[in-house]
Symmetry: C2
Subunit: 337 residues, 2 copies
């Protein structure tokens, strides 16, 4: 029921995701009277879909604490319960982010050894794709949290992005050892000792994100949130500048006609909908948050991402990685903070 164009875009998104992956099965939690007419229109989706009628929805402006205490019969809560109870392998929502995180934390709990879940996302870089976390779940983080993020990001890069030996970097205001503050120095030392596949690169700076200098970008939720949005804002700015440029003269307009197909390819490749889906990592269950403003195509990507994570046994792999670190004496120290 969440998102600007819900529930229509949710069902249509599922239909696109089904075309890509006919083995996906969908359970839609929401008001059946609104969902059913939409689902009836999508004849090929129907065999792969069911509706669970829920009386309530979590509103977009509800405070997480209020959403948590509110009725048991919200569509958001019941979808997460389905994940907890094993009726679903993952939950995707375009609704209230804070509420989704709060309810997921309470119902799914965190993975053993993880103190706080993080929000992660991946995006295109000069070298391919990188994953960054945290993007806003934890405004303030200690070194231990940052190390946990690195572990989760490492598993994500390997199992979902297909990077064999992921390189991890920690965001700072410089690459020298004593730049930044003490939390970062401690985290850096712990990460250097962590027995993870791949390599720890050390500190990176803001411009290393788009460069693709590393595969896994670790930072606190405040910095990550601002950096990602600053990057998104800049991409949008350049795109507007470019549109204006192509309209600025007759020659430029003709130029655009010639370059149009190439430009469309570029637009397709950098389409934010392709990267829709923020993953709540560190929970003992898969929850993916779609942008509220996305359309069916964007929502289909978020659904596909949840499907990939389930199929790749993402949780099991993370659990094993965390247990391995704890068995390792060096890692023990690191994991214990």
């Amino acid at each position: 029921m969440g998102g600007d164009q819900a529930p229509r875009m949710v069902l249509r998104g599922a239909n696109i995701a089904r075309k890509r992956d006919p083995n996906l099965h969908f359970v839609f939690y929401g008001r059946e009277p609104e969902l059913k007419p939409q689902l009836d229109k999508l004849k090929k989706l129907r065999p792969n879909a069911e509706i669970v009628d829920c009386a309530d929805v979590v509103s977009d402006d509800a405070k997480p604490s209020v959403a948590l205490r509110s009725g048991r019969d919200t569509s958001m809560r019941r979808a997460i319960e389905a994940v907890r109870d094993g009726h679903a392998q993952g939950c995707v929502s375009a609704g209230n982010t804070g509420a989704l995180m709060a309810i997921s934390k309470v119902l799914l709990k965190t993975l053993p050894g993880i103190e706080r879940p993080a929000i992660a996302s991946f995006f295109p870089t000069l070298r391919g794709e990188s994953v960054m976390l945290d993007l806003g779940a934890n405004v303030q983080c200690d070194a231990r949290n940052l190390v946990d993020f690195a572990v989760m990001g490492n598993v994500f890069a390997r199992s979902i992005l297909g990077v064999v030996d992921p390189v991890t970097g920690l965001i700072n205001v410089g690459t020298e050892e004593r730049k930044g503050h003490e939390t970062l120095w401690t985290a850096r030392e712990m990460l250097a000792e962590l027995p993870l596949p791949g390599r720890f690169h050390g500190f990176i700076e803001g411009d290393d994100i788009a460069k693709g200098a590393v595969d896994v970008i670790v930072t606190d939720g405040f910095t990550g949130n601002v950096a990602l949005k600053a990057a998104e804002g800049t991409a949008k700015l350049v795109s507007v500048y470019l549109q204006r440029t192509f309209k600025s003269s007759l020659f430029a307009q003709v130029g655009y006609l010639f370059a149009r197909r190439a430009m469309q390819k570029l637009r397709k490749r950098t389409d934010p909908r392709r990267y829709n889906g923020a993953i709540f990592l560190g929970l003992d269950g898969i929850t993916v948050k779609s942008h509220g403003s996305t359309d069916a195509l964007g929502f289909a990507h978020a659904l596909g991402l949840a499907g990939d994570m389930a199929r790749q046994d993402f949780l099991e792999k993370t659990r094993n990685e965390l247990a391995g670190i704890r068995r390792d004496p060096e890692g023990q120290r690191a994991a214990a903070g």
Copy 2:
């Protein structure tokens, strides 16, 4: 003597700045044997220029504390001394940033009421130009520091960017009152009460930077540094994507030929050299830090910026604004933190 192409680019930069503003006078601090042959080549610059021979330079990798204690005869120190002693109205360097800030702080001191100076820069947005601070001088800031930054940014926006009633925003991970952390909540309350020309907009998010949602963007040095570099990295990424796109097919290449002039205009407008020059605000003297990797054109912009600030009586205006706030009972509280 600082910067990748120094001292040649410094002298050539001065020559470009002189062409734009024949009233500028230049004193070059550095090794005369290296400077003189370069200056002799620039015949029109010579009447506006002198060289002060200095035995030493601050190296790029010197720690600020070491640079501070090191010999009295470094070109950096003597250039800042000239500002302190009134022999120069501003100092521009492409050298070691940390050393430049440390020496400037010790020699020039901060303006009355300012506890810590900040690094500021301005850049293009969807609506024009905005100034952001701090960009890395203060990795951790309290509410009082953020308020000081807002005052300095306000004066800068009015006197240098020519914005009559600047709108100020405070970076956070959301725009709601209780997003982020306590320092931001306190700063927000203090800023709302501050008697400054213009308006306080409240919290802004990372994507509001490029949108130009506000004229003055206030944040701590860690966040500002990462956000600015993340934005720069993204702009570079999009530009590389675009180059590849224009080369991706024959049609696209022809398209580029038609659109070339318009593209060149865009490139000129967004040329990072146009925005070269990070300003050390809050000091009782003008210090501008040029990118170390810039060329003569970029250095000329940094020189022009220092010239503008001197001509606009930037320091006097900031002093008055700070005094005004302290006279105002509401401001008193705000300024006292």
